[in-house]
Amino acid sequence: MQTVSARSGYRELPAKGKAAGRATGKNHVMAGPPDMRPALDVRCGADLDEVRHTLQHIHNFLSKHALPSDLVEDLDLVLSEAMTNIVLHGNTDANGLIECQLVLRDTAVECRLSDTGVAFDPAGAGLAAPEAKAFSEGGYGWFLIRSLTCQISYARKGAWNVLCFSMRSCAGCGAERCWASRQ
């Protein structure tokens, strides 16, 4: 792992990597992806500048693997929304952590996002967008996440929130993003 700071790190797993049972840190052990797909493990502190730096790293990784550009852009947005929420609302202390694991498929990405913030079950969050005419300055984040992802699941595991979802390029997916792209 290339260590960026005490709390940040990246691990890029090649398409034919040995993925099973790798440890990403002393607090958290992840099972590897079930096959040989390209994968990325990223860890950063719960801090807006660190999140920005990490998203740039993820963007570079995705671009390198020639995913459809709409998928790269949408994943950038979804991760930005989710990680920003963790930083702003997770009540993490100076040691707060965010981890992101991505597994790439041809036109899809599977994501597992974990954080040490307060427990937050998003079951009822973002079911509708704020009314446009209300000119709300917030409240869009979870609506966007829900609009652009498939198969969202949440679990509290020990001190960690664990959010899993997948995203596909528009063809053949019934999510809102496909609807939106046809408008």
């Binding site: 807006l48 500048d49 999140v51 920005r52 852009e73 949408d74 950038d76 947005l77 930005s80 929304e81 920003t84 930083v87 702003l88 967008a129 704020p130 446009a132 005419k133 000119f135 709300s136 300055e137 917030g138 869009y140 984040g141 609506f143 966007l144 609009s147 652009l148 809102e176 993003r177 939106a180 792209s181 408008q183």
Partner: protein
């Protein structure tokens, strides 16, 4: 972060010289525009041609700027990248903002810069 101010067709053009308008710079952006003096009756066009990424924090800052300016200084948006346009469409903010394909050619009058946070 940096914004450029320009004048075109009686409008003030504010060009955001930042590729990402996100939570890390949203407050700085709002503060920057808050300090710009705009006379009543002047349209304000926000030129986003350099912005490749906008999230809901950036969008919230734009809405906040619109409120700061008030109805006497209407805020319009110009030059959205495909992903930024998509965010406006998903949140339906494209139905409440006047959006131009590109900003009018503006004569630069000032460069305002804050580097403290991104």
């Amino acid at each position: 972060m940096q914004v450029t101010l320009g004048q075109a067709d009686g409008a003030l053009v504010i060009t955001v010289r930042e590729s990402r308008l996100d939570a890390a710079v949203a407050l700085v952006f709002k503060e920057l525009v808050r300090n710009v003096t705009v006379e009543d009756g002047t349209r304000v066009i926000l030129d986003l041609k350099h912005v490749q990424f906008l999230d809901s924090s950036g969008l919230g800052a734009i809405v906040g700027v619109m409120k700061l300016l008030g109805p006497a200084r209407p805020l319009e948006i110009a030059a959205l990248s495909p992903s930024v346009r998509k965010l406006f469409r998903l949140t339906r903010m494209d139905t409440v903002f006047r959006i131009h394909d590109c900003a009018p050619h503006a004569e630069d009058i000032d460069i305002t810069q804050i580097t403290a946070a991104g």
